[in-house]
């Protein structure tokens, strides 16, 4: 336990970490403040009305909304709500299937995978039609914009910052003894090279903490400015919410029923796990590459190179390779706005992002275990 405490002390006493944290919060604060005042007023007004009238839009809702004192925002909301219908009742996932099968047509395997995914999605559409999820107001006509900002911009930035902090933290811990010339001293002690296992575990445990340290103040500011009290219970599959992939727009079709609160909770949990996967990737590099600086370069190459390679595979129409490369952590981060949905061209499985993070954690965990075993028989020079 004392060794754990020491490793965390090395990590959290690093001034650069707190500078990075401060800059991350500043960046997120500026992002949040960049949302226009009228949009904020509209969302807050809609949320207040939804808190009063409920989220489900029906004739009673419309009557009660109409009876409320008229404001410019309320008029717009009423206009939008009157046009709502249960879009999932006659929604055909066959269109999506045909579109994506056409895109990946060069690969029969990828085409079969896409076909299977959209067949499964048809059942979900039928279920959503039954629940009437599409008739939830969410944030009315501002839904897509606010949802996209929260999950596609702000939380994507938070994830990137937490992943960077976790990776740098893992590299810092694993390179600490090399940088201070204490590797010989620590490896000749009773704990010996086992200390590096403690380092990996400390870095892994710190990663969700980094995520929390960045996410909590950022989301705190966001929810202080944007009133979600009437929105939390809305379904994320409201008809006002949609996704666009390859210029094709489709409803926000999730693989399970999510309210906004549940979706945020699931997103944060998966985000913490993804951050841990990035920490494991950094730990693997730190264990296999002796110099911490070189390890950082290899890590950057793996993350950026992986993104580039995936794009290149898509350009080359190697769709099986492309779809398999979509399981890597950097790509999972990249398409975070569509987590728990069908993911368009980036996914072939229900809950692919969850499966990808689980697979990444498992494979990287095994890789780190192998690297730790290798390290126990590795010469230590300093």
């Amino acid at each position: 336990m004392r060794r754990w405490a020491w490793e965390w002390r090395k990590l959290f006493c690093l001034p650069a970490l707190w500078v990075f944290w401060g800059l991350s919060l500043l960046c997120n604060g500026l992002l949040i403040l960049s949302v226009s005042g009228p949009d904020r007023d509209f969302l807050n007004g809609t949320s207040r009305d939804a808190a009063l009238l409920g989220q489900r839009v029906d004739s009673v809702f419309l009557e009660q909304l109409d009876a409320l004192p008229s404001t410019q925002n309320r008029t717009l909301l009423l206009y939008s709500a009157r046009g709502m219908e249960n879009i999932f009742q006659d929604y055909d996932t066959g269109r999506l299937r045909e579109f994506y099968q056409d895109v990946v047509g060069a690969s029969p395997t990828a085409s079969a995978w896409m076909g299977r995914k959209y067949s499964l999605l048809a059942d979900r559409t039928a279920h959503l039609a039954q629940t009437g999820a599409a008739m939830d107001l969410y944030a009315g006509p501002l839904t897509q914009k606010s949802h996209s900002f929260l999950f596609g911009t702000l939380l994507r930035a938070i994830l990137a910052q937490a992943a960077l902090a976790s990776m740098l933290g893992a590299l810092h811990l694993l390179g600490y003894e090399e940088l201070h010339g204490t590797q010989g001293f620590v490896c000749a002690c009773r704990a010996g090279r086992r200390l590096y296992r403690t380092k990996v575990l400390a870095a892994l445990a710190a990663s969700p903490l980094f995520f929390a340290l960045i996410a909590l103040p950022s989301l705190g500011l966001y929810f202080a400015l944007f009133d979600y009290s009437g929105i939390w219970g809305a379904s994320v599959s409201s008809q006002f919410n949609f996704l666009t992939d390859l210029m094709l727009t489709r409803p926000f079709l999730t693989w399970a029923d999510f309210t906004v609160a549940e979706y945020l909770a699931a997103f944060l949990a998966l985000g913490a796990a993804l951050t841990a996967a990035f920490a494991l990737l950094a730990a693997l590099c730190g264990l296999l590459v002796r110099s911490p600086y070189l390890a950082a370069m290899v890590l950057a190459l793996l993350c950026l190179g992986g993104l580039g390679l995936t794009a290149a595979l898509g350009e080359a129409k190697c769709w099986v390779g492309y779809l398999l490369f979509c399981f890597q952590p950097a790509i999972v981060w990249l398409y975070c706005q569509g987590w728990f949905t069908e993911l368009g061209l980036n996914g072939v499985l229900p809950f692919q992002e969850t499966a990808a993070v689980a697979a990444d954690l498992l494979l990287l965990g095994l890789g780190v275990r192998w690297a730790l075993g290798k390290f126990t028989r590795k010469d230590v020079s300093s």
Binding site: G184, C187, C189, A191, G192, D379, S382
Partner: protein
């Protein structure tokens, strides 16, 4: 009892140490050799930092690599370049060392206090180490190496960079620590080991040359070391060992099988032996 059995260390095609066999029992051993002779490689293998390419090292008959933590638990090691955390105080750093040595917290505190007194840092235990001189850092290093009261103490060039006063202080400290332990001290400052080592280990060309007492090593040169006034030309078969300041002015110490004209025979020192070995290639 530490036994080194036919140990070889290779890095690719380069052989750093070849077929080293030694047995060490409690006492102070001085490890001498020029730069690159393989001293540090040898000590790092004893400290389990490097792994032999061939051969094995045994502690009380068991392979040290198989013993693992049990072996490291009786080992104290001061590396050639003692690394430290600049933001830590000696007390904190020793506390970290105690955690690495798996010493219970309640036992560690009094032990750290005693060690800080032993190395003369009791007044500076709460100062940050980034402000310490080389000598003070070495003292922290020796305290770290002694944390677990080791039965095998390995000190790799502990007096390098120290001023003469610090060096003498350090030598005295090491001498007082010997007792029932094996102390292995690597240096190329001959005076350091001459004063305290019971046995000298000499490496040459990456091989073990000898492991013997200083007296017996010096005895090999008995009758072959002479002193002549400076400026005396060297004849065939005569090798200059060193220059010194004699009572009547500068003098040369020579190695020769036959007494040079006008030379005065002198008692060979360990330094003469060292210079002789690494000049001639043999004693």
């Amino acid at each position: 009892m530490l036994s080194v059995e036919h140990v070889t260390k290779q890095y690719g095609n380069f052989t750093a140490l070849e077929d080293i066999s030694l047995s060490l029992s409690p006492g102070v051993y001085g490890l001498l050799g020029p730069n690159g002779a393989g001293k540090t490689t040898f000590l790092k293998m004893l400290a389990t930092l490097l792994f032999p390419t061939r051969g094995q090292i045994l502690w009380d008959g068991e392979d040290i690599l198989a013993l693992g933590a049990r072996y490291r638990g009786i080992l104290g090691y001061l590396p050639q370049q003692f690394g430290y955390y600049p933001g830590c105080t000696p007390r904190q750093f020793l506390g970290y060392g105690a955690a690495l040595q798996c010493i219970p917290k309640e036992e560690a505190a009094p032990r750290i206090r005693r060690l800080l007194e032993l190395v003369g840092l009791e007044g500076q235990e709460n100062q940050k180490m980034c402000k310490f001189s080389g000598g003070m850092l070495q003292r922290v290093g020796i305290a770290c190496a002694l944390l677990n009261d080791p039965r095998l103490l390995i000190l790799d060039e502990p007096t390098a960079g120290l001023d003469p006063r610090e060096r003498v202080r350090f030598r005295n400290l090491i001498h007082s620590l010997a007792g029932e332990r094996i102390v292995l001290l690597s240096t190329h400052i001959v005076a350091d080991v001459e004063a305290i080592a019971g046995q000298i280990i000499l490496f040459q060309d990456h091989r073990l040359l000898c492991c013997d007492t200083p007296a017996r090593i010096c005895a090999r040169l008995q009758g072959r070391v002479f002193q002549v006034p400076a400026g005396t030309p060297l004849g065939p078969g005569q090798y200059l060992l060193s220059e010194a300041q004699g009572e009547a002015g500068p003098v040369l110490r020579l190695l020769s099988d036959t007494p040079p004209a006008g030379a005065r025979p002198v008692a060979p020192s360990l330094e003469d032996a060292f210079l002789s070995i690494y000049r001639e290639g043999q004693v």
